[in-house]
Amino acid sequence: MHSPPFFGKPTCWLIVLATLAFAFAPLWHDNVELREELLLAAIYVILATNLNLMIGYAGYINFGNIVFFGLGGYFCVWLVSSHGWPLVAAALAGAAAVSVLALLFGLGILRLRGAYFALSTIGVNEGVKAFVANFTPWGGSTGIYLPIDAFAPLGGPATALWVIYFLLVAVMGLSLLLSFAIRNSKLGLGLLAIGQNEDAAAVLGVPTPRYKAFVYSVSAFLPAVAGALFFFKSAFIQPDDAFDLVFSTEAIVGVMLGGQGTVLGPALGAFVYEELRSTLLTAETFSNFQMVIAGALLLLIVLFVPGGLMGWIHRRWPRAKKVLE
């Protein structure tokens, strides 16, 4: 079950290959359009893969998961614009701060189970959004603008966009490797036990409060980095964009569509969903229907295919489980 060494597992190599494919594809013919498309896809993958740690492993639905993305963005943009920090340092420091905040919030809300926890995560998101909208050092409801010279240390705007892209792809790869590492570790086993039956897991000795707090905090880090990179790239951040519940929901749709609880599922689901969404958005008539499509898709999955794409693949080709976790 866990015998082959870590990097001997096929899934691990698939992750590395996918990451390299993302990195090199737009380099072919300097394809900026493809890069932008893949950048957005990478962000969806990052959000869904980290969200899966909570939903798929521990069995806790984090409706307001976008709060990590938004806060990471705010910390980074603020550190860059007000204190002149370099991008990578600001992103990492911001993400660390977000993880600490997640730990603090988690101490409170992780005592709640099931639906109560899920609803309280919305509260956390809305609460943070309202706070930020009234917080003058962070621009209040107007937000923060980054001047164009913020991109100078990265070699100017054009080069900066490429650097940010590669950084995001790296974060994507890290997210998948993190998910894989956790899934195949003792921590992951404990989390899965919690997801199956938290009380039984506790009786078996799984230290449930510690594990839940840890995974909640860890699941905040990489999305916060992604938020930092994304909003730096946009050179602008404001509360409604940073803490967008629709985006948060789309991450959930990605997880469920791809197959919660698997390593690759959420990434696959997020990618498929993002492609679907961008196709529909270009057709004018559908632009208002984003929520409707997301909702209808989620409903169909929950009602008829709760295992998602991976669940279907695993049932059709049971041997694939070893390769596609």
């Binding site: 079950m1 036990a193 199956q196 009786v203 078996l204």
Partner: protein, 252 residues
């Protein structure tokens, strides 16, 4: 024989009902202690008070010389006290082997994954589930799930095992097999505190018996002593079959 587990003056109230009342008893090392009593006597509650699922209102629980009263279940498990449930709680979508690995990983020895898997395999063989280790736990029969519940608890390599009606719902041949397994568990040096309604089984397995009625200890002693105790027989008068079984007679 030193006391492995000591329960002193344990009490717990739920709403208007005193579920457990000033209960004291001890389990010695390597001993099998049976806990019996009519329905609603508070037996499962005693287990819940011991392993931290509920907090006692009064009294204390001493395990291996340390006061563990009110400690959360995962810490109690880590100390070497494992427990099965009356209503089985398999981790349904995980395989039988994975269920046992959870027990081995988070139990007394706190093993890493590799060694835990080895322990789990051995225990799965011991209880007779080796041919089902890859199957999801939810697909087992009730007897299989009971055996899994036991295997999971054993995988934690406990010093004391709490068995809650592990024979309930099994047919006679399954009961026989389970009794053999329980005897072999004791041979490995694990002490057992068991709740059971199957009179013949618990009478033949136990070294000593504690009888509970309405949350209070009614009697304590060797099986023959308890079976002939008039107060105990009276408590079971509501169930003449059990009363007859107590005395070793064949039920009418």
């Amino acid at each position: 024989m030193s006391a492995l587990l000591e329960v002193r003056g344990l009490g717990r109230r739920f709403g208007g009902l005193q579920a457990v009342d000033a209960l004291s008893f001890a389990v010695g090392e390597g001993e099998i202690l049976g806990l019996i009593g009519p329905n609603g006597a508070g037996k499962s509650t005693v287990f819940n008070l011991i392993n931290g699922v509920h907090l006692p209102d009064s009294g204390s629980v001493i395990f291996r010389g340390e006061d563990i009263t009110g400690e959360p279940p995962y810490r109690v498990a880590r100390r070497g006290l494992a427990r099965t449930h009356q209503i089985v709680q398999p981790l349904a979508n995980m395989s039988v082997l994975e269920n046992c690995v959870v027990g081995a990983c988070f139990g007394r020895e706190n093993l890493p994954l590799g060694r835990a898997e080895a322990v789990a395999l051995e225990i799965a063989g011991f209880v007779g589930l080796i041919d089902r280790i890859g199957d999801p736990a939810g697909t087992l029969t009730i007897a299989g799930k009971k055996r899994l519940e036991l295997a999971r608890a054993l995988s934690a390599r406990p010093v004391l095992l709490l068995l809650d009606e592990v024979l309930a719902g099994l047919n006679p041949s399954e009961v026989e097999r389970m009794i053999v397994v329980i005897r072999r568990i004791r041979e490995r040096g694990v002490a057992i505190l068991m709740i059971e309604h199957l009179m013949q089984a618990i009478m033949s397995l136990s070294d000593r018996i504690v009888v509970l009625n309405s949350g209070r200890k009614l009697a304590e002693g060797r099986p023959e002593q308890v079976a002939n105790n008039p107060a105990v027989i009276e408590a079971y008068l509501g169930n003449p079959e059990d009363a007859a079984k107590l005395r070793g007679e064949r039920p009418s």
